[in-house]
Amino acid sequence: MTIALEIHVTEKRYGTRTVLRNVSLQLQEGEVVSLIGASGCGKSSLLSIASGLDQAYAGEIKLHGKPLQGVSRDIGFIFQEPRLFPWLTVAENVAFDSNNALSSQRLVTRLLAEVGLQDHAGALPKQLSGGQAQRAAIARGLFTQPRVLLLDEPFSAVDAFTRMKLQDLLLKVAYQHKLTVLLVTHDIDEALYLSDRIVLLEAGLTEFHPGPAPRKRGDLEAAKLKAAILDSLHV
């Protein structure tokens, strides 16, 4: 297995407050890793650094062995909210990276079909439900055909049933696109279902291994692991 993403953060500070210190994480190609931890522990900061959006830190990010300088087309990012541009249609949002809408039409059509929005290409974001908007955001995240996908609590704003559907969708697209996935979540059940590896960020990194995919929701092994994670979080 080759390493897709290497994150080494010596220090990340906001003013005088240090949020990350000596954090190192490696993601194997094709691996789905969830990052969990208490609020304010630096999960989202770590993701922002890994995406290249935040460059005000001490350390180094490597993508397939090469140091990352700023944002990259090889890294897709999906935010907590869909963050679609409200003046663009769904198709235009998905193809936002493209300067030539016509040349990207086939890719957009394929991506929208993958996320189940093939009938909503011409819709405006205001006409979508929360789940549909997040599906469109996933399609947009895949448009650059990234090799690594970063997700910052992407399903936290949708209802439980939609969340489960979106989780299955994420697993499907991660498999189809051979993606390496780093997911920040507060939902331990979500982490247990989606991840090959769960990393708990709290005074260093602790790892948990939910077992090989496909995993079942709420089985006995998952329950045991959830208890262990909650114990580590002192909950």
Binding site: L53, V71, R83, F85, W87, L88, F96, L124
Partner: protein, 117 residues
């Protein structure tokens, strides 16, 4: 002022998305800042237009030899109530037409906005 305050009020989260796509400053302005600021820009233009009518009449009242303001002033000085009323009526109609035009442009340009009206 409308453009400046509109751009200042653009959602930081949308800028963050745009940064993911490595947009140049020109592209960021054209593809994100201006469309996002359009509601504030159009509101500013609409307010500016109604103010422009008022200031135009005020200027004509003070120093002009023709125009609506001059008609108002001339009608008052010659005790011609019909001229004064006609000038006021014309001013109201012109103001309403220009405001309705701006409202139509605003409605069409901002059809994407998820707002009450």
């Amino acid at each position: 002022m409308g453009v400046a305050s509109g751009i200042r009020g653009v959602d930081r989260k949308l800028i963050e998305v745009a940064r993911l796509y490595r947009l140049s400053n020109v592209a960021l302005t054209r593809r994100v800042l201006l469309p996002a600021a359009l509601p504030a820009i159009l509101t500013g233009l609409r307010n500016g237009l109604s103010l422009a009518w008022m200031f135009m009449v005020a200027a004509e009242l003070i120093a002009a030899s023709k125009g609506l303001g001059y008609l108002l002033s001339d009608g008052r000085e010659t005790s011609r109530a019909d001229i004064v009323l006609a000038a006021i009526f014309l001013l109201a109609i012109l103001g309403k037409i220009s405001d309705s035009l701006m409202a139509t442009i605003e409605k069409r340009s901002l059809a994407w906005r998820d707002s009450y009206a």
